[in-house]
Symmetry: C2
Subunit: 183 residues, 2 copies
C-alpha cells in the first residue's frame, strides 16, 4: 500500500481509432521513420497531467488534422522495454473516437501516409501491426453488433477530501446495479 514512496515507472502512450460510423471507414497512418510500412492508429505520448481521452484527441488532430470526440477505451497494452534500464515500462491505450471532421491534412514529419480505410479491410490486411489488427477486429465486432460489446466507458469522480477529480473506466453497468446504494 502507501508505505513506499511512489515513483513513476510507466510512460503512457495513447492512440485513437477514429471510426466514421456512416461509412465504416477508420483513420489509419503509416509512420515515416519505420522500416516496415504497417498501418496503425495515430497516437503518441501523454503530456504530464493529461487525461487519456484528451491525449487521443490531441494526437489524432496533430498527426492527421482530423477532429474527434472520445467515446471509450478499447484496449490496454503493457510492455516492459529495456528491462533494468531505469525500470521504465510502457502503457499503451487505444481509444474509440468519433470524427467531427473528415478532411485529412496529415503531418509530413511524422506520417508517410494517412487515409480513411474500410474497417473490414484493416481487420484483414497483413500490412498492420499485430495490435492494430487485434483492435480492428474488435472494432469491427462492435461496429456490426453494438459498441456496448466492446466499450470500456468512463465515469468521472470527485475525491471529497482532496478536491481532486479522477476518471474511472470499466464496463457499463446496468441501471439496476447503479442504483444499489453505496454511491
Amino acid at each position: 500500500n502507501s508505505r513506499l514512496p511512489g515513483y513513476a515507472t510507466h510512460q503512457l502512450g495513447v492512440a485513437g481509432a477514429v471510426l466514421d460510423n456512416s461509412t465504416g471507414k477508420v483513420l489509419v497512418v503509416q509512420d515515416k521513420n519505420k522500416t516496415t510500412n504497417a498501418w496503425k492508429f495515430p497516437g503518441g505520448l501523454s503530456d504530464p497531467g493529461e487525461d487519456i481521452g484528451d491525449t487521443a484527441v490531441r494526437e489524432v488532430f496533430e498527426e492527421t488534422g482530423i477532429k474527434s470526440e472520445f467515446k471509450s477505451i478499447l484496449s490496454i497494452r503493457q510492455q516492459h522495454r529495456h528491462p533494468g534500464a531505469f525500470g521504465k515500462s510502457d502503457m499503451y491505450i487505444i481509444c474509440r473516437l468519433e470524427p467531427s471532421s473528415f478532411n485529412i491534412s496529415f503531418c509530413q514529419q511524422e506520417c508517410l501516409r494517412c487515409e480513411w480505410m474500410d474497417l473490414d479491410e484493416l481487420a484483414k490486411t497483413k500490412d498492420a501491426t499485430p495490435i492494430t489488427s487485434s483492435v480492428a477486429k474488435l472494432l469491427l465486432y462492435g461496429y456490426r453488433e453494438g459498441f456496448d460489446k466492446i466499450d470500456i466507458t468512463m465515469k468521472e469522480f470527485s475525491a471529497v477530501y482532496t478536491g481532486l477529480v479522477y476518471k474511472l473506466y470499466h464496463r457499463e453497468l446496468p441501471e439496476s446495479y447503479k442504483d444499489m446504494g453505496g454511491l
Copy 2:
C-alpha cells in the same frame, strides 16, 4: 509519435478483487493508517518490470496471506496528483482474481481489518471507497449474469523484431472475428 524521448509520467497501482465463486464472498481490507475505515480491495504499487496481474496476486498475498490467480482487468482509474509536481500521475487498475487458498493471515503493519465479505453487502455499504463500491457492483453484475459481461481479458504477444513480449487487454472477441486473418 516517437519524435519525443519517452519518460515515465505514471506510477502504477494494482488491486485485486478476489471473489470466492462458491460462497459469493470477496476479500476486503481496511488500511491501518487512514482516518476513515473504509473497506477496499488489497493492492499496492507495481514493481519495475512487473506485469499487472502479477502485482495484483503478489500484493493480495503480502497483505492478506491469500493465494490467487489472475482472471481479468475490471477497471482502470487515472488520477493526476499534485499537478505540476514532476508531472506525476497515477494509474490504478483493479483485477478480478480467483482464490486458491482461503485462510486469512493479514499484514498487521498495513491492515487494520481483513475479511471475506458478502459481495452484495460490499456493493451496498457506505463504508467503502467510491471506487470499491463501483467495482463491487460491477463484480456482482458479473457474478450473477456472467463474468464475460465485465471482463477485460488478456492476450500475450511476442514482438518479432525485438524479441520482447507484451500483454494486450481488451474485451473477448468471438472466434469468428479472431479467425479473420491479419494475425
